[in-house]
């Protein structure tokens, strides 16, 4: 490929990246533009993607919660592990009740402490969420013994763990809301046994020892599913279903960390960092022209291409952008021009020794060794910070990771723009000059 063809390819790539990196709506010269989302169809194959930046909790607003599980009651390490998995599943179910888009629940173990990290983007009332998530709530079914005046409740071995799901439906004849229960196969057997013993009696459902519902058994129920009917309002039925679904945590948990950022503060942070970024980039652009003249313009073009490509990649991968992530990006802008500076300094030296176009090629070749070795060292650090394999002895979440990911991406792309883009730009310009 000739440098001109490569340049054409770069321009094409730049165009595509520019399209992706544009905001969804923007105004230019008093005209409003809307960037369409990608919606391609090849027969039955369909690609649909909206190119929006994804912001992390600190920019979009939301809550980051860390719970610690108390597993002191379980000495066996294998059962402890499954208990933690159980906790995660229950929390996931509880979180899903809030109808938040893309909640994230993960476990982390360090130095004998078991943690569950819960991320709730865009949540307005974190207090309620914390209360519901943290409820140790023990759900169980109880038998009633004794006569009307001195009834006692005897809990059975049928618990929340035996319940597969609960839903709200409507009775087909009366049109009233009812709650349907579906048991696991083991739970179904237990339920059949218990209902067989208690026909025409109440079978109270207890949550943390409190009766939340006390349906009367009409007949023995063997199918593994049941219906609780009664004088429910729709809201009552929903609440009951939520309580039943949320089940019980296998072990108690406590909140050890909370970070909540309001949406307004997040938006302000974005605005400020964008401003800081623009000012910084402008200074770098001016500096490069001041220090290297025409060569500086080439470096600036490379830098602009770098910025657009990076933004496009954030959207394509997608990278969840956090405040430290933005800092990582801005930092990589500063580092992106480094390969250009290395080459230009080398070029100044070599120009005295040989013809210009040779000097250029020699400079690129010689500078490459140090660019490669130096950037690999930076990538190694970024790798350790990003901890992609989730090694439990390193940081597994939070700002460190966001920063490392954008820094690593920045270095990767800067190698491309620093070497491929500026090199071909320079080749073409120098050839033009010779003519």
């Amino acid at each position: 490929m000739t440098p001109e063809k490569k340049l054409l390819f770069i321009i094409l790539l730049f165009g595509v990246a520019l399209f992706i990196s544009l905001p969804a709506n923007f105004t230019l010269f008093d005209r409003k533009f809307t960037r369409p989302d990608l919606d391609l169809r090849f027969g039955s194959f369909e690609i649909k993607k909206n190119f929006d930046l994804i912001f992390g909790l600190d920019l979009a607003g939301g809550s980051h919660l860390v719970f610690e599980a108390d597993v002191s009651g379980i000495p066996d390490s294998q059962r402890r592990e499954s208990a933690i998995e159980g906790v995660r599943d229950v929390i996931e179910r509880r979180v899903n009740l809030f109808g938040i888009s893309e909640p994230n629940v993960q476990t982390s173990t360090f130095a004998g402490k078991d943690r569950i990290i819960v991320e709730l983007p865009g949540i307005k009332e974190p207090k309620e969420a914390i209360e519901l998530i943290g409820k140790t709530a023990q759900l169980s079914f109880a038998e009633v013994s004794g006569e009307a005046e001195e009834q006692t409740l005897i809990p059975t071995d049928l618990t929340g763990a035996d319940l597969a799901r609960a839903d709200v439906t409507f009775d087909q004849t009366t049109g009233k809301p009812v709650v349907t229960l579906e048991f696991t196969s083991e739970g179904g057997n237990k339920f059949a046994e218990i209902t067989g013993k208690n026909v025409a009696k109440q079978l109270p459902i207890l949550l943390d020892g409190q009766v939340i519902s006390a349906p009367v058994v009409q007949e023995q129920i063997t199918g593994g599913s049941a219906i609780i009917s009664g004088e429910f309002t729709l809201d009552e039925a929903k609440t009951l279903a939520i309580q039943l679904n949320a089940g019980a945590l296998p072990v108690p948990i406590s909140l050890v960390e909370e970070r909540t950022v309001g949406a307004t503060l997040g938006a302000e942070s974005v605005e400020r960092s964008v401003k800081a970024g623009l000012v910084g980039v402008a200074m770098v652009l001016v500096f490069m022209v001041a220090a290297y003249g025409k060569l500086g313009i080439v470096a600036d073009l490379g830098l602009i291409i770098f910025g657009v490509l990076t933004l496009a990649l954030y959207k394509l991968i997608p990278v969840v952008l956090t405040l430290p992530g933005i800092a990582g990006f801005l930092l990589s802008v500063g580092m992106a021009v480094d390969s250009n500076i290395l080459i230009f300094e080398r070029f100044k030296e070599e120009k005295g020794k040989r013809p210009t176009s040779d000097a250029l090629e020699v400079s690129f070749g010689r500078a490459w060794d140090s660019i490669r070795d130096a950037n690999i060292a930076t990538l190694v650090t970024a790798f350790i910070l990003a901890n992609p394999f989730d090694w439990s002895f390193l940081h597994t979440s939070g700002p460190v990771r966001g920063f490392a990911i954008t820094l690593a991406l920045g270095i990767g792309i800067s190698l491309f723009t620093g070497i491929v883009v500026s090199r071909n730009l320079l080749r073409v310009f120098i050839r033009e000059e010779k003519k």
Binding site: V256, E257, G280, L331, D338, A374, T381, H395
Partner: protein, 289 residues
């Protein structure tokens, strides 16, 4: 230029900066933030202007210990308190509503005391693993253990400079050590080594072509990479200064920490790593004689 002749001066300058830092570390320690110490950090937007002393007194009446209240400008205030639960959180908001009208919680961070030690451990692991990885990488690429060791020592020099000066900033301007500081600390490692490798690369290249002793090669390499080092640091400094001045309160100290690290990293490559290398070679020479 005979840079290596003034090795003692460079070691003295580094020694002095580190001595100030270590003195500050020993006297005042680090100003640990909630990430390490545990406690709560709440940013409120309060409609009416409130007196920070008055608000502090009223909150303490409720039995909640207040570490500090800081006006961030506009209508926003930053409260640092002991670790609070939901009940206390509500009662603080109640107190502020009494004195300030409508109150909005912009940011709420509450960290239990058990998180800090874990953070420190993980950070030390990350530091050690990064240092070993870089040591191995340089030793392989430059086929010499002393190149690797000198680079890693320069790296620790930068970490120590940052830690010490940040302790001083913590004492003078209440700069807090938080999660972001840890990130800055680890990033500095890569910065430092990035610059060092560029100088090393020149030594390696001249060694292949011209041969000669390390002392002269080092002088030549430092001269050849000097302008590049300064110019490159300028571009990074531009970005960081913009971030420190315009980026907002959350990111300001992070940018300043990176700034200290960048300057130290730029200095330490020609003036710590390379002189160490030359000194090492000299000592080896003397012993073999």
């Amino acid at each position: 230029m005979n840079w290596m002749k003034f090795r003692r001066v460079y070691f003295l300058i580094s020694g002095a900066v580190i001595a100030v830092g270590v003195y500050s570390l020993l006297t005042w320690g680090l100003n640990l933030g909630v990430d390490f110490k545990g406690g709560a950090l709440i940013e409120y937007k309060i409609e009416k202007e409130i007196s920070t002393e008055g608000a502090t007194a009223k909150i303490e009446e409720k039995g909640i210990a207040v570490t500090s209240v800081q006006k961030l400008g506009g209508e926003t205030y930053l409260f640092r308190l002991e670790s609070v639960d939901n009940e206390k959180r509500e009662s603080i908001k109640g107190v502020l509503q009494e004195v300030g009208g409508s109150v909005e919680e912009l940011r709420f961070e509450n960290v239990g005391p058990s998180i800090g030690p874990e953070l420190i451990k993980k950070t030390i692991y990350a530091l050690v693993i990064a240092a070993i990885a870089i040591l191995i990488w340089i030793t392989i690429q430059f086929k010499s253990f002393k190149f690797g060791v000198s680079a890693v020592l320069a790296m620790f020099h930068d970490s120590l400079v940052l830690l010490g000066l940040y302790s001083l900033l913590g004492h003078l301007f209440a700069a807090e050590v938080d999660f972001l500081f840890v990130t800055a600390m680890l990033t500095i490692l890569s910065f430092s080594v990035h610059d060092t490798i560029v100088v090393y690369d020149r030594i390696r290249e001249s060694q292949k072509k011209l041969g000669g002793n390390l002392y002269d090669l080092a002088n030549k390499a430092v001269t050849e990479t000097f302008v590049r080092s300064i110019n490159n640091s300028f571009t990074i400094i531009f970005m960081l200064v913009a971030l420190a001045l315009l980026g907002g309160s959350t990111i300001k100290w992070f940018a300043i920490a990176l700034l200290i690290g960048t300057i130290s990293g730029t200095y330490s490559s020609p003036f710590v790593a390379v002189p160490l290398l030359v000194t090492w070679e000299e000592i080896k020479h003397k012993i073999s004689k």
